[in-house]
């Protein structure tokens, strides 16, 4: 098995958001600012890596017809850990991400990787898979948040870009999220079709 390709596939070739089209709700909902996107990526990466490790360790003792509830319980446990940690050490982040922290449980990327990869592969491969997917997720979130924060709030990392300019607030709410991702996907299709 080629470990390097297990790691890199998540970044572009099988990017969870842009190619597989999963994990969209947190992607669109938290990318209102770069810092929210950053903390969301960290939280999701932690949960994804830990749950991939545990699931690849227990894959042999889990009966296949109850595997989904068991996977979800494992994931929910790690999400609870993240929730408590963020609440204790980063209360401001905890507040601004709101219900999207507990909602990491139903982020399809995590259950998807558990079902598709960790339940069939060894621990090392599962860790690499999780890290690659987490980086792909984080990069997409970063680009989306970069565009939306700079256009929608006229700010980057909390600093004003052009003083006195009226930001277009539609970018910060739901429509902007849909438009930005739609255009990103279009661009991605264009690049991929040129390669062929």
């Amino acid at each position: 098995m080629n470990y390097l390709s297990e790691f890199t596939k998540g970044i572009w070739k099988k990017n969870p958001i842009l190619v597989l089209g999963i994990g969209l709700c947190p992607t669109l909902a938290v990318t209102t600012s770069v810092s929210n996107a950053f903390w969301m990526s960290i939280a999701a990466a932690f949960v994804l890596t830990c749950s991939n490790i545990v699931i690849s360790l227990i894959k042999k003792i889990v009966p296949s017809h109850v595997r989904i509830p068991i996977f979800i319980t494992v994931i929910a446990t790690f999400v609870t850990i993240v929730e408590l940690l963020l609440n204790a050490f980063q209360p401001a982040v905890y507040k601004s991400l709101g219900i999207f922290i507990p909602l990491i449980v139903v982020n399809c990327i995590i259950l998807g990787r558990a079902e598709e990869f960790a339940s069939k592969n060894g621990v090392l491969a599962s860790i690499l898979d999780a890290l690659g997917m987490a980086i792909g997720f984080a990069l997409t979130l970063f680009v989306l948040a970069f565009v939306r924060e700079s256009l929608g709030a006229n700010k980057l990392f909390g600093f004003t870009i052009i003083p006195g300019m009226e930001p277009s607030s539609a970018m910060i709410i739901a429509p902007g999220a849909f438009f930005t991702l739609g255009l990103m996907l279009w661009g991605m299709n264009k690049i991929n079709s040129r390669k062929k």
């Binding site: 089209g21 999963i22 969209l24 709700c25 947190p26 669109l28 909902a29 989904i68 509830p69 979800i72 319980t73 929910a76 446990t77 999400v79 609870t80 929730e83 408590l84 709101g98 219900i99 507990p102 909602l103 449980v105 139903v106 982020n107 399809c108 259950l111 539609a170 709410i173 739901a174 429509p175 902007g176 999220a177 849909f178 438009f179 991702l181 739609g182 255009l183 996907l185 279009w186 299709n189 264009k190 079709s193």
Partner: protein, 199 residues
């Protein structure tokens, strides 16, 4: 008076705070099942059912088990297990009643479990302070039901548009997901019109 408040919650969850188009929850089924009108309708009805039931059970669990025993930190784990069990139930009912619908919903039926709108509504019921409020249980159920109806409305609108997009003339690269997102953005802009409403 109470009736007015309940009606307000219903209208607000269907139109003003539509889960899909203004709170961005439940996108995976929204994109996955919106290709055909009839499967969209089936999915919507299943979501309404699961969402109302989930609101009912998670509210009772939170108020009478988690809160008195001071184990509120278990809410994420326990809520998702309740939802998974409910989805399993709905799956069995649909398989018995309408095998055709069961076939067409396919993989998306078990995926209702990971529909974030459902866990979202359960958590929002808690966050809205319904637990201590008067008639909290009823308010939660109304919020869950309204959320489901709002989801179905968005899904049906999208399915109607997508059936026409199939035959529309457009650049090759924008077909499929990109145009769907841009359409969803336009729908969300339209739904912004409701946001000035006060109920």
């Amino acid at each position: 008076m109470e009736l007015k408040i309940l009606f307000g919650i219903l209208i607000s969850t269907i139109f003003i705070n539509n889960y899909v188009l203004s709170q961005i929850l439940g996108l995976c089924p929204f994109l996955g099942v919106s290709k055909k009108l009839d499967s969209a309708l089936g999915m919507g009805l299943a979501v309404i059912f699961v969402m109302s039931l989930a609101s009912f059970f998670t509210f009772l669990l939170y108020k009478y088990i988690l809160l008195p025993n001071d184990i509120v930190y278990l809410r994420t784990v326990s809520f998702i297990l309740i939802i998974a069990a409910l989805v399993q139930l709905v799956e069995m009912i649909i398989e018995k009643l309408s095998p055709a619908l069961y076939q067409s919903l396919g993989i998306f039926l078990p995926l209702i479990t990971t529909n974030c709108a459902i866990l979202g509504v359960a958590l929002l019921n808690i966050n809205s302070g319904f637990v201590t409020a008067e008639l909290g249980l009823l308010k939660s159920i109304v919020q869950g039901f309204g959320g489901g109806v709002g989801f179905t409305l968005a899904l049906l609108l999208m399915a109607g548009i997508r059936e026409r997009l199939e035959t529309a003339d457009m650049p090759e690269n924008i077909k499929g997901l990109p145009i769907t997102f841009i359409t969803a953005g336009l729908l969300a802009l339209a739904f912004l019109g409701f946001s000035g409403m006060k109920v």
